[in-house]
Symmetry: C2
Subunit: 108 residues, 2 copies
């Protein structure tokens, strides 16, 4: 269902604030986004974004993040991965990502 290498213009729109909060409220997903945001290119292969987690559970979370318009499924080198949709998010909810990542970085 993730439809690998989706063209940027067929990506789902960024979800409403309400839904974004629900999606980001899960510790696993927040960590995935945090790790992506830390990367300079804001992209990474799937398995770099979690640990100690069943693969099917990871897939589940990726699907949710993609559907909410937060991640863009892409090929990263040889393997599948995701890119953080910074610009789209910034347009939908300006300042949200920066606020969250900033505070996370600050909290140890």
């Amino acid at each position: 269902m993730p439809a690998w290498e989706v063209l940027p213009d067929q990506l789902p729109p960024v979800a409403a604030v309400q839904k974004l909060l629900r999606v980001l409220a899960d510790p696993v997903r927040l960590e995935m986004v945090r790790r992506l945001a830390a990367h300079p290119a804001a992209e990474a292969p799937c398995s770099d974004l979690y640990d100690g987690l069943n693969k099917s559970t990871a897939t589940h979370h990726f699907k949710i993040l993609v559907e909410a318009g937060i991640l863009h499924p892409v090929m990263v080198g040889p393997s599948r991965g995701h890119r953080l949709r910074r610009a789209s998010l910034q347009e939908a909810v300006p300042g949200l990502l920066d606020a969250l990542m900033g505070a996370l970085a600050r909290e140890t």
Copy 2:
């Protein structure tokens, strides 16, 4: 348990990002915060902050918001109410509240 008219310095600290997201991810609570943020004084009696909801459910949500450090229980005129802890929130996660409220306002 809300301990009415708590002194500002015995309020619980603002929760970590993770927990804040969990707390704000509920539609009922987000709406409560939205309404408070809309008020000029950022405070209002309990019953102004929700509708079509059982009172005990409302109490439940208020308790969670207070424990997360988002609301401050106060007397508003004759009746009980809450004040939004803008400054504390801004200090804990700068920009978060503004980002959320801005986007909510924009979404109609």
